[in-house]
């Protein structure tokens, strides 16, 4: 019987995997949960590109249809809303801040939107006009707030930079610039900030993580292009877990890599593909309060949850 043969085959294979490929792959490639239906109906995902957990472990996901959808930790659909203007490209940055607000980098409308958790628009940063002058954005990619409530917005385009705004949305300062030198960026794709107000920037096309203080002073940088452990291939998202380690979503390696804050690799999860435990150009990840990582498997239109 084919099923019996398959059953026995898989039994043998699963028994042999740790011997053949080493424990790393066998252990890390299995997700705890895979969910998501491809489509544009409410609760379905159309190339999701960004996600964040709130304090209740509800997952906020923005996809190409300019929707922000809210799911519980296991993928049960709760509610959704749309960003004010529609395009065929969605926001590429989303953060739930310390105050429970949902901060959305509305990339192709050159602004940052601040919502409450139910989708009521509170205010926006940037006048929605594309520009490289202070206070305007080219392509804002992500936004976070520090302990004082100041907004840090990364953007790429004409100016690959980070702009800082007061809690009221007034422009304060900026740093960065397009380039490969330390402190410069080529497509800073994501931001995260730790409890000491250190800012972690996923410098995507430089394949590295840069760490700054709130004044823009470079504290550390690490990472180089490659597919070996410890190397990065297009870092599209970075998130700090409850254990204080960094999870980096690698777009081109189709994997998630865990680092210590000083850049030591602690392991990788995932490989390119369409099966469970396989990713197809993931754009983002989010770490919940239990320390499990939900990775946004963008081109597979789904979410996979796993633990390192």
């Amino acid at each position: 019987m084919p099923s019996r043969r398959r059953f026995l085959g898989s039994l043998l294979a699963s028994a042999a995997t740790p011997w053949v490929s080493g424990c790393d792959l066998g252990r890390e490639s299995y997700p705890e949960l895979v969910w998501g239906v491809h489509g544009t109906k409410p609760g379905w995902l159309q190339k999701p590109r960004v996600a964040a957990f709130d304090a209740d472990d509800h997952l906020y996901i923005a996809d190409l249809t300019d929707r922000i959808q809210v799911f519980d930790r296991d993928g049960t659909f709760l509610r959704h809303w749309r960003t004010p203007d529609l395009n065929i490209d969605g926001p590429s940055g989303l953060t739930v801040d310390r105050l429970g607000r949902v901060l959305v980098a509305d990339t192709h409308f050159y602004r940052v939107l601040v919502y409450d958790r139910y989708g009521t628009l509170l205010f926006q940063i940037g006048d929605g006009v594309q520009g490289s002058t202070p206070g305007r954005f080219d392509y804002p990619t992500d936004v976070v707030i520090d302990r004082d409530g100041c907004f840090y917005v990364s953007e790429y385009g004409e100016n690959d930079r980070i702009q800082v705004f007061s809690p009221e949305g007034e422009w304060l300062r900026q740093w960065g610039g397009h380039g490969h030198r330390p402190g410069q960026f080529v497509r800073p794709a994501a931001l995260d900030i730790d409890e000491d107000d250190r800012l972690y920037v996923a410098d995507a096309c430089n394949h590295r993580i840069q760490i700054f203080d709130t004044r823009g002073e470079l504290i550390d940088l690490w990472g180089s292009r490659g597919s070996e452990p410890g190397q990065i291939n297009y870092a599209y998202d970075v998130a700090i877990g409850p254990d204080g380690h960094l999870c980096v979503c690698e777009y081109a390696n189709s994997r998630v890599q865990k680092f210590t804050k000083d850049g030591r690799s602690l392991g990788t999860w995932g490989r390119p593909g369409r099966g469970p435990g396989e990713l197809n150009n993931p754009w983002a990840l989010a770490v919940d309060s239990l320390g499990a990582v939900s990775v946004i498997d963008s081109n597979n239109h789904r979410v996979q949850r796993f633990r390192f």
């Binding site: 065929i88 392509y139 790429y156 385009g157 080529v186 794709a189 995507a204 291939n233 297009y234 081109a252």
Partner: protein, 1045 residues
């Protein structure tokens, strides 16, 4: 078949094996009763029963028993007619009927589905336990026709396998495609019942403009009678308007106000003078009086219109399409001076928005009818759509219109015309052997996911178009984002790998690349290696989203003389920055920048890009100028002098290998090969000419001043003109019942019948597929001078053209073209429903015919109708499906177990009394009572043992033999080969046996009583004998040792 519980039944596929049971059972019982007589009656009975069961089970297994499960659920699929013939106000009740019928009659487990149909059928909702309420029709279908047959077919294919099936047709029964009855017969064969609910209507005040009758050809100064035929189902009043359409403009020519229509056919005749040669379309529309019109649905007004066309052929009319406006003025002048009417059109230029500027080029055969030849003068392929190219080729092949391609840097291969229908029509091929090629082009395409609608599709289309436009000796490569930067195929000579490249492109799904740099660097490295490439080019398509290329990479590209064309697919709206990135990259590298606002422009952009770099087909010396050679005077060159003016360039091409091709003028340069300058041949009904140098602009400048310039060109063009009809043939087309009848009346100038003409007829339909071959029509002579043929399936709306080439027995020949317009589909001709067809469907399948029940306001009520129509009823005609499961192996298994039971019954005799006692004892022990000793049992055992012992002794006595006396064994110390029963052990591990244990009777029979002294047992005697032997042996050994060796 045996009845069993519920929906389960048992059946046998080979029941004759069951005969074994009556044959085998009686002898088995008789034999067993004899052979098992020693078992006692109960065990014997059980054994016989078990044996009988084994045999019965084996016989059953041989008969192949099957467990049959009947599924009692029913699936009903509604076929909902959505065609235009259904009056709009009936659609609501039809939907309501379906919703209510499902709601009221569906039983648990039943499923309902809906298929809607018009020209095609679609599953509106698949069979499911129905929960959704239909509020309208979501599927998009062509409602211009009704194909009930295909809907039945789809429904039959949609049914699930595991339930009974019924179809409910809700339609007017007016089918104009397919055959519903055939499908109903198929349904009947599959036990599918068809119920019908005919939708009744009569358009009692309907008006149809049936047709406009007018002659297909008119002559100069002739007055045309335009006959408008209007059919009315009731007397009516209104206005009749007639328009004339020519050259894309419509003018009203007559309006008849306050027309009184009689019931039946009304004919209105309008006279029209035609003065200018042209192709005219007439359109007639009847507008009923306002109050009359209000009662009808708007779309029924469709049949209030009809159109027809005619043409007036004047002097020969030539269409010249050029790449740049007024580029060929001298040629046009020359032709006009020789009494050829020339219409010039300039093609537009390809930009991101599509084709910009220029005149609209013909898109329909009717627009080409007034021309006798088409000149493509230095115009590139990308100015034409595939349809337009096909149209021109068809006009030549099927309608006899001439085609002339005049050279230039955007013509022939240099204009990207290779692998097109136009190339097929011309006497030369654009591809030339690679030996002749002066330089190659190398092109790398960089594909980035574009998020425009159907982005991946367009990416594949553009890449394939570019590949098709490049020559086979050019280099092509394609890089894209496939999870990371990668080559889809590395930069290589296209050559034979073109099909493989095209296939790879089909499978390509470019991803969202984050950065331009790595892709550009890959392309740069690839291009640098191709040192023999004359032009190196990169085409990037992107939404401008990736990180911009660094100045360093841009400088490297510039240094390597690589041009980069950027194609921005504006996914993000009016995005300044992506526009800048793309524009700057193109400008910095001398490429072109396209901001694509219309994806349909994309293929042309890629064709143009590929064409611009693939220029090795142009030869411009050295030498600076040379004289082409007239090899011989072919028909178009008759009367021209042999000496031709020099030329300074031409587009390389190769002559088609076909005996029809004539090459009267060739170029001696480039040397070593045949370079056609003028070539011509017949293609289908038409003729085509290739002139590979230009018409006096750049390469043939001296020709413009040549005294024979006008004569040369006018003779070439005249040769190619559509053949003139020299006979006196009249063709009429008549449309009836979905077909077009072609009738030719042939008489000569003396009004004698022309008999035995041979016709080659070609039909061009309005719905003809691109690149489909022309469809032929057979004409047969039916009477003296009368020929007839039929074009089947002429149902599509639009213009039909019939071109007839004929040849008489005397060698006379000619070409006739005529046409007919179908103004609206047959859907609009039906003025009443056709319940008879629907009833026949129900009749064929044993279904029911429901009828509408009106609500109090007199309108059909879906609710009331549904209440009477049980579409989920269980009908004996509707057979529920059965699933069969073989169970013979279970029978065999049971037989094996029963067989073991049979053996057991014969071999094991259970002591029921003892079992009972044991149970009683156990119970007593449990209660704490003392269990009575088994005296009786032990006593019985002892006496039995004694009995057996005596028996053995008796038999021993019979076989006793006398042995010599041996001394009794020493009582201490010395080891013995064996011990007496009851003696103490001499091994430490042996358990000392107590006196009580060693009491008589505890052994096994033979030593029931201890042997008396002096009385020797059999064993003792044996032992003595053995001992004696050993002693003798010892003595012998001692002697041996003492003796000297």
């Amino acid at each position: 078949m045996l009845d069993s519980l519920g929906t389960l039944r048992l059946t046998f596929l080979e029941p004759w094996w069951l005969l074994l049971i009556p044959v085998l059972l009686p002898p088995l019982v008789l034999l067993s009763a004899r052979s098992l007589s020693g078992l006692g009656s109960v065990r014997r009975l059980i054994a016989i029963l078990l044996r009988g069961s084994v045999v019965t089970l084996l016989a059953l297994a041989l008969a192949d028993p099957q467990l049959v499960r009947r599924n009692e659920s029913l699936t009903t699929i509604f076929l909902l007619d959505a065609s235009r013939s259904i009056p709009g106000d009936l659609q609501g009740p039809m939907l309501d009927f379906i919703n209510r019928a499902v709601g009221q009659h569906q039983r648990p487990g039943d499923r309902a589905g809906v298929v809607v149909f018009g020209k095609e059928s679609k599953v509106e909702s698949p069979p499911a336990p129905y929960t959704e309420t239909l509020t309208g029709i979501q599927s998009t279908i062509d409602t211009e026709y009704t194909d009930l047959g295909s809907a039945l077919k789809l429904a039959l294919a949609t049914f699930p396998d595991d339930s009974a099936r019924r179809i409910v047709v809700v339609s007017d029964g007016n089918e104009n495609r397919g055959s519903a009855y055939e499908q109903a017969l198929a349904a009947a064969g599959l036990d599918v019942q068809i119920d019908v609910l005919p939708v009744d209507y009569v358009y009692d005040r309907e008006i149809l403009v049936e047709k406009i009758a007018l002659p297909p050809d008119v002559k100069k100064g002739e007055t045309v009678n335009i006959n408008v035929v209007v059919r009315a189902s009731a007397p009516a009043r209104g206005r009749l308007e007639v328009y004339q359409e020519a050259d894309n403009s419509t003018i009203p020519i007559d309006t008849l106000d306050d027309v009184q229509l009689q019931r039946g056919v009304n004919v209105f005749r309008i006279k029209q003078d035609i003065t200018d040669p042209n192709f005219y379309t007439y359109l007639a529309q009847f507008i009923p009086e306002e109050d009359l019109r209000r009662g009808y649905r708007a779309d029924r007004a469709m049949n209030n219109m009809a159109e027809a066309f005619t043409q007036y052929r004047g002097e020969a009319n030539v269409l010249l399409i050029e790449g740049t406006a007024n580029e060929h003025e001298s040629l046009v002048e020359a032709l006009r001076s020789k009494e050829l009417a020339v219409t010039t059109l300039a093609a537009g230029d390809v930009t991101g928005a599509g084709l910009v500027g220029g005149d609209p080029l013909p898109t329909d055969l009717s627009e080409l009818q007034k021309f006798d030849a088409i000149i493509l003068a230095n115009v590139p392929k990308d100015a034409f759509t595939d349809q337009q190219q096909d149209l021109i080729s068809t006009a030549v092949q099927d309608q006899g219109i001439g085609l002339i391609m005049v050279g230039g840097d955007r013509s022939f291969g240099a204009g990207g015309w290779m692998n097109t229908p136009i190339e097929k029509a011309l006497p030369v091929d654009m591809q030339i052997p690679s030996l002749k090629v002066k330089g190659k082009a190398a092109m790398v395409m960089i594909m980035h996911a574009s998020e425009i609608p159907e982005g991946n599709y367009w990416q594949a289309v553009v890449a394939q178009e570019a590949l098709k436009t490049l020559s086979s000796y050019d280099y092509a490569g394609l890089t894209y984002w496939s999870g990371q930067e990668a080559w889809l195929f590395t930069l290589r000579e296209i050559g034979p790998s073109k099909p493989a490249m095209l296939r790879a492109i089909d499978r390509m799904t470019p991803g969202d690349a984050p950065d331009f740099n790595p892709l550009l660097v890959m392309a740069l490295r690839g291009l640098r290696q191709k040192t023999d490439a004359m032009s190196k080019h990169i085409v990037v398509i992107s939404d401008g989203d990736p990180a911009a290329p660094t100045a360093q990479v841009v400088n490297q590209l510039k240094a390597a003389k690589i041009t980069v064309t950027t194609v921005l697919t504006a996914a993000h709206g009016n995005d300044l920055r992506s526009l800048q990135v793309m524009q700057q990259l193109a400008e910095a590298t001398n490429g072109r920048f396209y901001n694509v606002t219309n994806p349909k422009a994309l293929p042309r952009i890629y064709q143009k890009e590929a064409r611009l770099i693939s220029r090795p087909l142009i030869f411009e010396g050295p030498p600076p100028a040379w004289t082409p050679t007239m090899v011989y005077q072919s028909e178009p060159l008759l009367g021209l002098p042999q000496d031709l003016p020099p030329i300074s360039g031409l587009v390389l091409s190769s002559v088609k290998e076909n005996e029809l091709v004539e090459v009267p003028i060739v170029s001696p340069n480039p040397t070593g090969q045949l370079n056609p300058v003028l070539a011509h041949w017949n293609y289908g009904l038409g003729r085509s000419v290739a002139f590979t140098s230009d018409a006096g602009q750049k390469w043939a400048t001296q020709w413009a001043g040549w005294e024979n310039y006008s004569a040369f060109w006018s003779q070439v063009v005249r040769w190619a003109l559509r053949p003139v009809d020299r006979g006196n043939l009249t063709v009429s087309l008549r449309r009836e019942e979905g077909r077009i009848k072609v009738v030719v009346d042939a008489v000569d100038a003396e009004n004698d019948f022309l008999n035995f003409l041979q016709f080659q007829g070609i039909v061009n339909r309005p719905n003809r597929e691109l690149n489909a071959p022309g469809e032929s029509v057979e004409l047969v002579q039916v009477a003296p001078g009368k020929y007839e043929g039929t074009v089947e399936n002429a149902e599509a709306r639009g213009n039909y053209f019939v071109t007839l080439g004929y040849r008489g027995p005397d060698g006379a020949q000619g070409v006739l073209t005529t046409g007919l317009s179908v103004p609206y589909s047959d859907e609009y001709r039906d003025l009443r429903s056709n319940p008879v067809l629907l009833e026949s469907l129900a009749d064929a399948t044993g279904g029911e015919v429901f009828s509408w029940i009106n609500s109090p306001d007199g309108r059909p009520s879906g609710e009331r109708t549904a209440a009477r129509a049980d579409v989920f009823r269980r009908d004996p005609n509707v057979q529920p499906p059965r699933t069969y499961r073989p169970i013979w192996h279970w029978m065999l298994f049971t037989a094996a177990i029963v067989f073991v039971g049979d053996v057991g019954v014969r071999r094991i005799a259970p002591d029921f009394a003892r079992m009972r006692r044991n149970v009683a004892d156990a119970l007593r022990t449990l209660r704490g009572q003392e269990v009575a000793p088994r005296d009786e049992y032990i006593e019985k055992l002892r006496s039995r043992k004694r009995e057996v012992g005596e028996q053995i002794d008796r038999s021993r006595g019979a076989t006793r033999f006398e042995a010599p006396d041996v001394p009794p064994p020493p009582s201490t110390g010395a080891s013995r080969p064996t011990a007496d029963p009851g003696s103490r052990p001499d091994r430490p591990g042996d358990r000392p046996r107590s006196a009580g244990e060693a009491r008589p009777g505890s052994g096994l029979g033979v030593d029931a009583t201890p042997p008396k002294p002096g009385e020797e047992t059999y064993t003792n005697r044996l032992l003595k004998a053995k001992k004696k032997v050993w002693e003798e042996r010892d003595q012998d050994r001692g002697k041996d040792q003492d003796s000297p060796r």
